[in-house]
Point group: none
Chain length 402, copies 2
């Protein structure tokens, strides 16, 4: 974790903006003159800001490691993603907008097709239509609301996916996945891997029995596969850890959900970046720390759409003057990971990072790009140190040692 900063915190009021352009970092693309998305984009406002900021490259997890969205944000919030992990079930639950309570056990669920011998013949139930999934999940939720005092919460996702939550006393999350991961096998029984999870396994078994009875006449979705059993991590919340009133401005449930786990206020913000920036402006007096999440850069990268990702970056650029007009004490622009269009997905490339404050210094860089960042004053550093740099630049950290 590095130096424990809690003992160094100084009280005060700050205005800190952490603008996360999801997957903003990229890689050179041969079809676009060997440029990256940030290099190809026309970004007059980011260019001007880069000139008076310090730059660097952040390792979301470690050299060569491609992070999921969980580890990507854990690092940005100052927690070591190799130490603190968020389970798959919990992330899926956050992704469909479920609020989790301490002690809940969440699982990622799939509808699947099994034959008369209970052999799984399609792990995705023929990629069930989303509306079908909704209909069936609603039926199950109506029929199974509680088992032995444990509340059963179900919420549909896209296609064959849904989320199961067990809410009750004395549940552990050490249960083996029931998903056999391969067709041609039966699903596993829910099996507890520690004593604390015996009750969980028992409830899951009862749930699967009831559900499978209710599904027996479904032509495709006649089985359920569960994996990624997990509980929300027990952690020191961000506001206590850093002495900052923290607001998350995010439109996608996943990012709001992650921020909520860390104790951010997570209001409902509808719309797009324009609306997020408007929300930032209107909340400016109420918080010290603003996490603003912009999703579209990542989406375009995941789609392999270089030109679209460039457009998203150019769109983001137009909002920089409005953010600067608020006169933040510290403004950081970075990603939670890179998403090069050429790779159509998250990657291991370090995230370019820009930090602006009156005391940070400056690299005198002409642009905010991966190649400018690699020459930056901040050098290359693990993402979970970013919060130290932010607090230092906000003058909220005292001296270490006499």
């Amino acid at each position: 974790m590095g130096t424990e900063v809690k003992g160094l915190l100084k009280k005060g009021k700050s205005r800190i903006v952490l603008l996360v352009a999801d997957g903003v970092g990229g890689a050179p693309h041969p079809d676009f003159g060997g440029k990256t998305e940030l290099e190809y984009a026309v970004t007059p406002n980011l260019d001007a800001l880069a000139k008076k900021s310090v730059l660097g490259l952040m390792l979301p997890v470690n050299h060569g490691i491609t992070p999921g969205s969980g580890p990507g944000h854990i690092g940005l919030f100052g927690y070591d993603p190799e130490e603190l992990q968020i389970g798959r079930g919990v992330l899926e639950a956050l992704g469909v907008g479920l609020a989790l309570k301490e002690g809940d056990v969440a699982a990622r669920a799939n509808f699947a097709t099994q034959d008369a011998q209970k052999v799984i013949i399609d792990r995705r139930a023929g990629r069930l239509a989303t509306e079908e999934c909704q209909r069936i999940v609603e039926m199950l939720a109506r029929e199974i609301q509680e088992i032995d005092g444990v509340e059963i919460i179900l919420k549909p996702g896209k296609e064959h996916r849904f989320v199961l939550i067990l809410r009750g006393e004395g549940l552990g999350d050490q249960v083996k996945d029931t998903d056999p991961q391969k067709e041609g096998y039966r699903a596993h029984e829910p099996q507890a891997l520690d004593e604390k999870s015996e009750k969980t396994a028992k409830i899951l078994k009862a749930f699967l029995e009831k559900a499978h009875a209710l599904l027996r006449n479904e032509p495709k979705a006649n089985a359920i596969l569960l994996r990624g059993f997990s509980q929300p991590p027990v952690l020191e919340k961000f506001p206590e850890r850093y002495g900052l009133q923290a607001l998350a401005i995010a439109i996608y449930p996943m990012y709001k959900g992650i921020a909520r786990l860390f104790g951010f206020d997570t209001p409902d913000v509808e719309g797009e970046l324009k609306d997020e920036v408007a929300y930032l402006e209107k909340s400016w007096e109420q918080y010290d720390f603003f996490f603003l999440h912009y999703k579209d850069t990542d989406k375009a990268g995941e789609d392999g759409d270089f030109a679209k990702k460039v457009k998203c970056i150019e769109y983001l650029d137009t909002f920089i003057p409005r953010i600067l007009a608020l006169q933040p004490d510290v403004l950081v622009i970075t990603g939670d990971h890179s998403t090069p269009s050429i790779l159509r997905g998250h990657s291991w490339h370090p995230s370019p990072v820009l930090l602006y404050s009156p005391f940070a210094g400056s690299d005198d860089a002409a642009r905010f790009t991966e190649r400018a960042c690699k020459n930056g004053y901040l050098g290359q550093f693990p993402a979970h140190f970013l919060m130290n740099l932010i607090l230092a630049n906000a003058l909220r950290l005292g001296k270490f040692g006499a």
Copy 2:
């Protein structure tokens, strides 16, 4: 700690100079064309040296962490400041020029004012005049020389500050501060936090009783507050650890004191940088390793005096030819931390570092500045790795592994 180099050490005779310009690193200042102190200064000799040296940026402790002088020097001497810490009392004792023995317990002491109910109404006794402090400390030192076989050593500092040392057998340093840190409260009793410190607490209690009786007629300084109880760290001394005969040339007691803790020879050197360099020249044949401490850069930075700090850097520059004339095997110029004038204090900014040796290579840099260093061949690294680089360049380290 990184690789253990002790097993790799090669015998030999070297001439290594570690020139520490305290707080030399800075930050761009808007009133001086957005330049840092090093950038603004005219430094023909450092420029010429930079051209044939390798440069880098050193993290004194870690990203975003502002070190005190203790951690700053611990790192330069090759010890990890996150592992090895020097307590407040010990540093204060070194700062007033007290030599500590193993097992001593040192505390930072304040004169304070208490009312008839022993409630502290001024934690600094109205910022007592330094001469008053001297008078009262001398009186106390005369009256209380020993308690139960433990020697009591007192030495005045500036204004209301002084240092208390207990010297005797079987003392621990785990005692709670008596300073309540806020006015309107009584001082705490000295309370042992482990068994080994019971005796310390008992002696402290007796000392405070006697002292308070002697102070009862003082109008302002009628109470004593103690904090930062600590013992000199038990450590492998620098000369043994690195196989180097080591000399510290420093004028301020604090830096001499820290060097002495690490086993450096610490002669009395009076005067200023000129005298320090003369001392270096005259001791050239007697040592392998010369730690030369130049304080004035830090002082000017702490005063927020950019122009003065520039002058100090330019003055330092004039001595570079004399140091090079000695033909050191390795010459390093750096700071123990940065002290940007714009921040009027220590900061988290990495320290620019220059390493010159016939085998180091060169960056072909035009100048020795923060921005030149960030592009340097040495990259960005924790300060406690500097000693490895120094030993390597002095050809004093063998191969690691076969």
